[in-house]
């Protein structure tokens, strides 16, 4: 067995408790980070689909000719941020209303005249769904000839907006705090390992060891600890997925929309390895001979 590997394994075994502790620390850190990350990922997915559920409804004045209606449709389409315009004639609107009232058809059953307007649900391009732009667009639609009224869910719009900015801010803060916390914990664990071997490193230097000779066992140790931590966190994530998550999403409807970012968890062992190696290199610092 190559000497540096032997030394690394020896010291991994000899210091098994503190090494185990470092490994658990890294595993927990990675888990916390991936938990935060997957929540953010899901919140991001969710807020991104919200604008698709938003639309402005334009009601037409009564008694417009077909070609006038087509003209209006065309000019709505021409206004910048419009994604799609649907045309629902007043007969269609009534049919839909009747359908949705199925059991209570008597409410509309007695009407001789259709009280509804022809209407256009106008859905917007995703990036246009914001309080300012929507207000502007609604204003310009309202001014169009033939349009009677324009309505949109102002409250819904505002909440989309605040949910989005709120989540972005919280996510950013949480990520920063978590990542710096984990880095700090990794750093201090490795620093402890380093101080336990400070004297040994001093002696190695005096015996004529090169930097590589001194570093190699350290880096091997760090990578083993880091990778073990990564694999452990991956295993825990997997266990969580199969024991809790998959069951929850099968029974709780809300959980169905939650995505478990598998690819990200596959990265954990590699991230652990990276943390272990950089951690040990940082803890070793520059090796100076003078």
């Amino acid at each position: 067995m190559p000497y540096p590997l032997k030394i690394a394994l020896q010291s991994l075994w000899r210091e098994k408790w503190i090494n185990l502790l470092s490994m658990l620390t890294i595993a927990m850190g990675l888990l916390v980070i991936s938990l935060v990350f997957s929540s953010l990922y899901n919140v991001g997915l969710f807020t991104r689909t919200l604008p698709e559920k938003f639309f402005i409804v334009a009601y037409l004045k009564d008694g417009l000719a077909e070609n006038e209606i087509q003209k209006i449709v065309a000019s709505i389409k021409a206004s910048g941020p419009v994604e799609k315009v649907t045309y629902i004639s007043k007969d269609e609107a009534l049919r839909e209303l009747k359908q949705s009232l199925k059991d209570a058809e008597y409410i509309v059953g007695g009407l001789d005249e259709n009280p509804l307007n022809t209407l256009f649900p106008v859905s917007l391009k995703r990036e246009a769904v914001g309080p300012e732009k929507v207000k502007e667009l609604a204003g310009s639609l309202r001014k169009m000839n033939g349009i009677d009224d324009v309505q949109y869910g102002e409250k819904f719009l505002l909440s989309i907006d605040s949910v989005r900015t709120g989540m972005e801010t919280i996510g950013l803060i949480l990520m920063t705090v978590m990542i710096s916390g984990v880095i700090f914990i990794c750093y201090s664990t490795v620093k402890i390992l380093f101080y336990r071997r400070k004297e040994e490193i001093e002696t190695l230097k005096l015996l004529g060891a090169t930097k590589t000779f001194i570093r190699t066992p350290f880096v091997i140790e760090g990578s083993v600890i880091g990778m073990a931590g990564g694999i452990l966190s991956f295993a825990i994530a997997l266990a969580f997925y199969f024991s809790v998550f998959s069951k929850l999403s099968a029974t709780v409807p809300l959980m169905k929309t939650v995505v478990f970012p598998f690819d990200m968890f596959l990265l954990l062992p590699a991230v652990g390895l990276f943390l272990g190696v950089t951690g040990s290199l940082i803890a070793l610092g520059r090796i100076r001979f003078e």
């Binding site: 002696t203 230097k205 005096l206 004529g208 090169t210």
Partner: protein
């Protein structure tokens, strides 16, 4: 092999060495003696580049203290075997691994390590302690492990700082015979000691340090 040219070394307010000029020839053995605190260890540290002169220049083979850089110090040290006054054994490695370390830093192939280490341990009569750990050894035994580690790599220079400080006269005489043997193979040896017995009747040069300066040079 080793030259000091007008070398001074200061620690804050203490002068450890003042204007030292001396040279040691290839294959020579010299002694450095003097009272405690005279600067013997400091003189050796300047040779293995654990300290650097504040004035003057130290030359060791091809290495010069005023042309040093981070990468030529390890190779300088691999030319030297050192018996440290404070031993510097690794408490968490056994005697075998402590001695083997001197070979491993020299990139000696692992299959040759064992024979050399066991030879060196036999030389200092510690063959039976191969698997012990330094904290479980007596002071004199630890000192002999250090000596084995210093000579096992067959260095061109051996520096020994108080190598018999913990040894009884008979064992000390045994150690001096080892130094004599490796000197006969052409190794340059510098021994720092306050024990006059070591250099009596050797015929070697003895530098007596007193208060950071060379007070006299004589023959043992």
């Amino acid at each position: 092999m080793i030259t000091f040219e007008g070398v001074s070394k200061y620690y804050d307010t203490t002068t450890a060495l003042r204007n030292i000029t001396l040279s040691v020839g290839r294959g020579e053995t010299i002694f450095v003696t003097g009272p405690s605190g005279a600067g013997k260890s400091t003189l050796l540290k300047l040779i293995y580049a654990a300290e650097f002169p504040d004035t003057g220049r130290v030359t060791v083979d091809e290495w010069q203290s005023d042309r040093r850089n981070g990468s030529n110090i390890p190779s300088l040290r691999r030319n030297i075997g050192i018996v440290f006054q404070d031993f510097r054994l690794l408490g968490n490695r056994n005697v075998y691994d402590n001695v083997a370390l001197a070979l491993r830093v020299r990139k000696v192939p692992e299959r040759e390590v064992k024979a050399h280490v066991l030879d060196a341990l036999k030389m200092v009569n510690l063959r039976h302690k191969t698997d012990s750990f330094p904290p479980a050894l007596s002071g004199g035994e630890q000192q002999r492990v250090v000596i084995a580690r210093a000579v096992v790599g067959d260095p061109i220079i051996v520096l020994a700082d108080e190598p018999t400080g913990n040894l009884d006269p008979d064992t000390a005489a045994g150690i001096m015979r080892i130094f004599k043997e490796i000197n006969a193979r052409g190794t340059t040896i510098v021994i720092a000691t306050h024990n006059r017995e070591l250099f009596r009747d050797t015929g070697k040069r003895v530098f007596r340090l007193d208060n950071a300066a060379v007070a006299s040079e004589e023959r043992g």
